[in-house]
Amino acid sequence: MNKKNQTTITDDELDTLLQQTSFAQVPDRFEQHVMMKIDALPETHSSQPTWWQWLALVGGGIPALMQIAGLVFSAWNIANAG
């Protein structure tokens, strides 16, 4: 490998070269930079619904469904009366 036109790269030399060579280095203060970016992210809310979210859904959903049912019943009642 060291002399031109004389040797070729062996498996071991290739291994060493691949293990030792690093084409990208960790820049200074990379970790702090990443954490600053994370701090700057908008607050995300948990994707797992909590108990009070379920309660709000049910508490709002039931009256809404009852209103729709009332509307349908009224329409049916008017149609029958007419």
Partner: protein, 185 residues
């Protein structure tokens, strides 16, 4: 990285996540560099990997995967997307001007042995550029010394046997490219 720290990360503990960044920044840059990405692109992808990991922290399940496997899976997807995005542009640029991509400039006035090593590394960089992005990723993961074959197989979504056979073929291809380059010099 123990489960207590991983649980803290899942709950949104930033100091714990900072420990994860510190632990994996070196292997991640090693991986991205060996994929033939420039320093600037490697920085961008490494940063994006950690940000995505933070954003998806609740989805990480330590019962199902190791944290390293999870991180490298994110990095691999980003790196391959980037390589595919610029592949055509790089190909055209290399054909037109004979350049070898974004290989960092060699330091001036190097001693002979250092210069030789530097030239060999430049040829390795060029040879890596000639590999398919999937092959580059597999090779880079294999030379990290961080991951076992089973973890590499999981990241690459292929069986362990395929990892070994593909790795053998890639190394032969790389060796052949490097030796062909040497013969031309």
């Amino acid at each position: 990285m123990n489960n207590a720290i991983l649980n803290r990360i899942r709950q949104g503990d930033k100091p714990a996540f900072s420990m994860l960044v510190e632990r994996f920044q070196q292997p991640l840059f090693g991986y991205l560099g060996k994929m033939g990405l420039s320093q600037a692109v490697a920085e961008e992808i490494a940063q994006e990997t950690f940000i995505r990991a933070w954003q998806a922290r609740e989805q990480f399940d330590p019962e199902r995967a190791q944290i390293s496997t999870w991180l490298f899976t994110i990095a691999r997807r980003l790196a391959i997307n980037e390589l595919q995005r610029v592949a055509h542009r790089h190909e055209r640029a290399s054909k037109h001007d004979g350049s070898d991509g974004d290989y960092p400039d060699e330091k001036q006035a190097q001693p002979s042995a250092q210069l030789e090593q530097s030239q060999l590394q430049r040829r390795l960089y060029q040879a890596l550029q000639a590999l398919h992005p999937d092959d580059r990723s597999l090779l880079a993961l294999a030379y990290l010394k961080e991951l076992e074959y089973s973890a590499i197989a999981e990241i690459e979504a292929i069986p362990v046997g395929t990892v070994k056979s593909r790795l053998y073929r890639i190394r032969q291809q790389l060796k052949s490219t490097l030796n062909a380059g040497e013969a031309h010099e």
